[in-house]
Amino acid sequence: MAEVRCPMCGKPNPPEVDTCQFCQARLKPLVAPEPSESTPPDQAPAADDSMSDWLSSLRDSGAQEDIEHEPVEDNQSLPMSGSDMPDWLDSLRGSSEAGVSAFLAESTPEGSLTGEKTSGAEGEWPLAAELPDQEYVPEWLAKVELEQKLLDEPASPEAAEEGIAGGPEGEPEWLLKVRSKREEDIADSAPLEIPPADAGLPEWLAQSNAGEPLESEASSNNVSGWLTKLRRGQALDETVQEADAGEEVAAPEVSVEETVHIEAAPVEAAEETTTAHAEEPAPEGEIPDWLAGLVAGKAVVSAQENIETDAEGLPDWLADLDKSSSQEPGVIVPFGEEEPGLTFDWLQEQVRADQGIPISAAAGAGEPEELEAEKVGPFVGDLSDFLEEEYLTASETEGVPTAQSGEDLAPAELPNWLEAMRPLGAAALGAAAMGDVEAQIESSGPLAGLRGVVPAEPDIARLMKPATYTIRLQVSDTQQANATKLEGLVKAEGVTRPVPGRPAITSQHVWRAIIFAVLIGVIFWKAFTGSQDIPLPALLPEVLDTSAIIDGLPANPVVLLAVDYEPGYAGEMEATSSALIDHLILKGAYLALVSTTPNGVALGEDLLQNIGTLNGFQYQEISQYANLGYISGGSSGLLGFAEAPRQITPYALDVNSTYVWGQAPLQRVQTISDFDLVAVLTEDADKARAWIEQVQPKMESKPLVMVLSAQAEPMVRPYYQGNPKLVAGMVAGLVGGGSYESAHPNLLGGIGPARRYWDAFSLSMLVVLVLIAVGIVVDLSISAVKNRKGEEGGKAK
């Protein structure tokens, strides 16, 4: 036997099952159709070949069920069997052909629910419409058509005969009961309410839920039941949707409302029927009892009534549809809000605020306290100042509207920043779509004349210009101003700002000019007067050692004189070293001049010339001295010179570039240790250290003497004071030169440069100390006065 298509979900099912395996919808009617006299069930007319096999099978099974059911009361006769099929049911089959064929032909896929026509024989399932084209017509659709017909055409005896209802004479008892009950319900219930699931159900609904053997009503009751519950869920959605008129849910609103409209179509139709016939009792035969029974159970709910969903008896998919959330029953979940935790809390709060639901009320509506405590806007703290300000301002200005009644929910007001993020076209489209859908009146198909249904024609047939979306953000003036500021800041990063101009004369210039003038004045005074009254310093230990070393040199020693100072210190170095060099000259020493700086060549020449001017004995001949030139490479050059001086400086820098190593006295010099004395003249402690580290270890027992600037002496003294002594003697600064001159007054004609400078040096030292002391006192006084003024100003404030 062929598979049975479920009328609700359209999925195939085995023929032997009564309910759909997927959606639990009833596949076989509870009322077994009576076999027709003219046409046995298995002998459908040729025109009824399209009747669904499932319907015929249902009839067979229904007949079987009828036999299996408990015996019913007399007044509850079985549903119509084939032989008892009323004429009105037969007429139903015929009248519904034309109405639903067009719609079902397009909407229903082939081979799903169609392809099998119901049996056209009387007594077959009364709720199924018989279609000549063997297409399936859902029963609700059949009812709708019937209702529409009843509304459009006045009741006529023929219609009464062919139509829905028969007279009391021909009506089964169950139908009568339904009608009477319906009339009672309509009379009793002024506001249309959905009674709670457990109580207040119409008898027929309750009886159906209880499972009483209302066989004749079984199918209709079950159908009524699910439809009723469907209405409950739909009404809930409807009322919730009415509460939220926010545009951001326009798109889902459309689809949801479309769904609602689709689902509510029979409900609305039923409602209309109910409203139309509630006040005036329907004439007998005009309103089918089964339809009246359905209408009696409709659910139109106010927004704030608690709805308890009762999944009992509902198909699962309907139960799921009806369930809005896993929240406790009685909690109204506004539109846009899903389970707590699924959406951003901030949006939840905002939506509530916009909807007029107080946050406290919302919190008291059942949300956990933890969620309430954890609700922190995700952007708080992260927002830049202006965005945060905008957000808070929007929240403050919009405020929390007072809770309104459930029926008058204020449309949600979005904050500016959220509003700005929404494409402008979407709202228009939604509204347009909404308007289009709402305004549209279906003109064809079985739903012709209904408003707001899904169009029968495919969208492609509806020529509609595609909507244009704008991507322009909506920004407020404040946001624009802040954005402009930010842009300016970013641009300013790459632009060089002009340095603020400084005054031409500052206190620094004044102080330096005063110090310079005072010092210059003192020195000029001493220079012009030629004063030499102040005694030279006493013989220092290091000077004494140096003098002793030179005195201990053999006659005509070969001395390596390293002129390793910069031209800027020429004045001090000349004053420091003149006496020592003159001492060497007096000893008849052969001076070999070298330097690790290029300037040392000229400095050495100048030094010897000046000394010669002072002592009256000029060193000019190559037999007296040799300027060996420049040793490049720093420490590396010193290492090479110490090991092989001939290779590093092969020629002298005289006019002839004499190879001095081949003639006396340098002929005997092979290594550094062959020199009788190495005297290093330098102002730099690092150069002195390089000579000590590279040359002194190669000198074996020969002395190394340092003639230093005053600034290099502290760092060389550890080499002099250490044991073993790496530096045998040391003459440092003007003090050392003066001490040497004082130890050897016959040197330099008695007027060495140290003697010349000593008086001016002594006086200028005192002046400098006074200047420093005065400057410290003045500076500290000024800062103390400023601090006091600042404190007084602070206290005054």
Binding site: Q508, W511, R512, I515, F516, L519, I534, P535, P537, A538, E566, P567, G568, Y569, A570, G571, P598, N599, V601, A602, E605, D606, N627, G629, Y630, I631, S632, G633, G634, S636, G637, L639, G640, E643, A644, Q647, I648, L653, D654, V655, E713, P714, M715, R717, P718, Q721, W758, F761, S762, M765, L766, V768, L769, L771, I772, V774, G775, I776, D779, L780
Partner: protein
């Protein structure tokens, strides 16, 4: 590894020179002498490269901004004149020494002389800029040494001068201790830096 040739040269040559300090083998000593000799030549050529670079920099300044390149022109003229004079007469002859003595020496000596004025001003403002124990110790030491350097109006203050004077005590004991610590620290740092180069960890030669 980037620049393996340069790294190999640096490490190889460095190891040979370093080992020569501690292993007195004649072959190693001779090889070290040769390598050091070549390094002295390269150092002088490097000085030429520096002078050439200085010339090119100021030449570009003259080419780009004729109005602002007057100083660069002076530099290039003086450089060229010195090169010509020195090239003609030699490094230690009269005229190159004359140029050195009458141009370079006065300018450089004057700049160092100005240092005295700047240092006096800095010493006077020192306590205002940074007032703490170490600044006070630093300034007090400097003043004591300066005060003990020359006699005041010809009078040598007893507690300042002489071998037992404060100045001698400061310069010969705590200053020597500090200087020795600094020298040891500098030497240790130089050893660490040098070993990093010899191991190839640091490659300051563009590797």
């Amino acid at each position: 590894m980037k620049a393996p040739v340069s790294t190999a040269i640096a490490i190889g040559v460095g190891l040979v020179v370093l080992l020569g300090y501690f292993i007195p083998i004649p072959l190693l000593t001779n090889l070290r002498g040769i390598l050091v000799g070549w390094a002295v030549i390269l150092a002088a050529v490097a000085l030429f490269v520096g002078v050439a670079n200085l010339f090119l920099v100021h030449w570009r300044k003259i080419s780009r901004a004729p109005t602002g390149g007057v100083y660069s022109l002076v530099l290039i003229i003086s450089l060229g004149a010195t090169l010509v004079v020195g090239g003609l007469f030699g490094a230690a002859s009269y005229w190159p020494v004359w140029i050195f003595k009458n141009i370079q020496m006065p300018v450089e000596t004057s700049l160092i002389a100005l240092l005295a004025v700047v240092l006096t001003y800095a010493a006077a403002r020192l306590l205002r800029r940074r007032l703490n124990v170490f600044t006070i110790v630093f300034l007090a030491t400097a003043l004591i040494v300066l005060l003990g350097t020359a006699p005041i109006f010809g009078i040598e203050v007893p507690f300042l001068y002489g071998e037992t004077g404060l100045r001698s005590l400061l310069t010969q004991i705590p200053a020597v201790a500090g200087a020795r610590g600094i020298l040891l620290g500098v030497a240790l740092g130089a050893i660490a830096t040098g070993l990093r180069v010899l191991m190839g960890v640091d490659r300051p030669y563009g590797g």
